[in-house]
Symmetry: C2
Subunit: 352 residues, 2 copies
DNA sequence: CTGAAAGCGCTTACAG
DNA sequence: CTGAAAGCGCTTACAG
């Protein structure tokens, strides 16, 4: 258990204070609070007036303890500063709130060690369930060690390394990474491109592997060559992408288009192209992934895949709430749809 | 109080289970958990082994109830999807976690009504204190009605409309908006500009008013004219900013530079300028505010004011924790520093 | 060094 | 319709 840094709190108004003042029992006040029809109308009115007068605040923790219920959902994210996850969190919080729960937040900064610590701390607060977007190299054993097999858990966005214990009934919500990258690649092929690179991301990230697989799938289906030197890895940031641009132009023949790992990489590649005097959307076609806010207003606007993270947040919360209703149902695996947004960056090849 | 949507939870291992198995009392197990030196070493070892064996999870809610303490901090944000607040939240969560607390999250979507509902729901979970970035038109009365005067509260980023009750000891953490805008304006003046616009934002937002005041201050100090038609209002988004660009060029003389309300507006203005054939950073100078991730990598890179929102989050959490230690100390008002980041967009005027 | 007892603020059968 | 009593899982003086 964690260390003790709690602090005493001011004396609060309790049911006893209200009951005494109204000359009824605590039980009656409780029934009023919970809207029971058993209570006499006039008694109810008196009690409600007194609750208001004294500024009573319901102590949900005490009620949860007595009823052995929970009114919170934990949300554990690898990277809240990423707008994709921030939108996701906003969607989770909205749905969780609508269901009468409160969100417990935890950030792991992509560290499996922090993830384990955060989970261990959150679980002591008794959440009804957990939504987890795992840190990059997090493993099923660690999560299982921190949570046990009983805790309802929904995994978002990334698979967990290691073996998923079947008895744990963990649910999954993934983006359709492979299909998204396939759609983007097919679109470029339809525009007339034949030499198409896959740019950015790291091979050890599962989402990157899936997107690359979608690219490969589309290229092979079209009978197009997959040149190893057209697979350029980089960190999923604009800056690193810009600096890796040269790798695409090292040896002829040079590609005429690139399917990028995500929007940040795509925008970085645009920058790198401009710096080489190549104009994206005219001399070179680009697609992204995520449809972040900048995609629609970049120069040129970016063809990309929309994942509507806020919607995904709502969906994740609803899947978890569903699990709370049916704890024993078998694991559910959901694939969120992605939608191709065609914009100016995916021009035809200059020679076509 | 809110409606009841809680759900029963599986039977958990308690202190009693451990005590029975070790043939000691609950009290002894509790002492072991809390690291008391009173317990015999061998007893401690036996108990710890049993805790591990049964997968015991500490019930912090029960402990908090008994000890009348709290182990959570509520964080209520007007807009989590905004990267500025997402970074802020990440900073808050890190500092809150380091102090042994957990973060309760609430989003208000800029709606004072939702803000009141969210506060009312969160307070039932007994947070030790609250960090609130108020919704745009939220008022002190509403917050007071939801929280009472006792709850430790730190207001971030925006003042609250209405009168702040002095007895409430609410703390404030604000950005130095006025100084930031003054620095930006002074920088443009030093570059040689004389006709400088203030572009974007709405007059009813307090941060916008403060930034505008900084602009006015610098202009007046330099003896430069403040043309009413060089004050263009727009929503703080890229798209609206781009579409309002024409307003700057409606009548001669035309400005040669613009201090923008924030980075989103500045990037939108860049876009609008490109569309008119005016090249930002060469034909027209621009400054932003916030130093969002895109600012450093836009074309041209954007001169702006860095507010380091993650640092602000840590600072906010620490101010609140400080208040928890000294509940009766008088209200504290902190102004976070801002730093001018000079980049390519703030060129000298073309005629200079 | 350890245990018995009381109590945090609530809810819930069970009597009446 | 209302009250007395027990109990959720923990902690904390107080005895011994």
């Amino acid at each position: 258990m964690a260390t003790d840094n709690t602090h005493p709190v001011h004396r609060k108004i309790t049911l006893n204070d209200i009951a005494r003042e109204c000359a009824v029992s605590r039980a009656t006040v409780s029934l009023v609070l919970r809207g029971s029809p058993l209570v006499n109308t006039r008694t109810r009115a008196r009690v409600e007036e007194e609750l208001r007068r004294q500024g009573y605040v319901y102590n949900r923790a005490a009620a949860n303890l007595r009823r052995r219920t929970s009114s919170s959902i934990a949300l554990v994210l690898n990277d809240l500063a990423n707008p994709f996850f921030a939108e996701f969190a906003a969607g989770v919080d909205a749905a969780v709130g609508d269901a009468g729960f409160v969100t417990l937040l935890g950030c792991t900064s992509e560290s499996p060690a922090r993830e384990q610590a955060v989970l261990g701390s959150l679980i002591e607060h008794g959440p009804a369930g957990i939504i987890l977007s795992p840190a990059e190299h997090s493993g099923a054993e660690h999560v299982l060690a921190a949570l046990g097999a009983r805790m309802p858990l929904l995994l978002f966005n990334r698979e967990l390394g290691g073996d998923l214990p079947e008895y744990a009934h963990w649910d999954l919500l993934m983006l359709d990474n492979q299909r998204g990258a396939r759609l983007a690649t097919e679109h470029l092929i339809a525009q007339g491109h034949r030499r198409i690179a896959f740019f950015g991301g790291h091979g050890d990230s599962s989402s990157c592997r899936q997107r690359h697989a979608g690219y490969v799938e589309a290229m092979q289906a079209a009978g197009l060559p997959i040149e190893p030197r057209w697979r350029v890895e980089c960190a999923p940031t604009r800056l690193d992408a810009a600096s890796r641009t040269a790798a695409l132009f090292a040896t002829a023949p040079v590609p005429t288009a690139a399917v990028c790992y995500n929007d940040a990489v795509a925008l970085g590649l645009m920058l790198g192209l401009y710096q080489r005097g190549v104009q994206p959307g005219r001399d070179f076609a680009i697609t992204g992934f995520d449809d972040i806010a900048e995609a629609a207003v970049s120069m040129p606007s970016l063809t990309t895949l929309s994942t509507t993270p806020r919607e995904r947040g709502r969906q994740a919360a609803e899947l978890l709430l569903q699990r709370l209703r049916e704890p024993a149902a078998s694991s559910h695996r959901s694939i969120a749809p992605v939608k191709l947004m065609v914009r100016d960056s995916s021009c035809p090849p200059p020679t076509a």
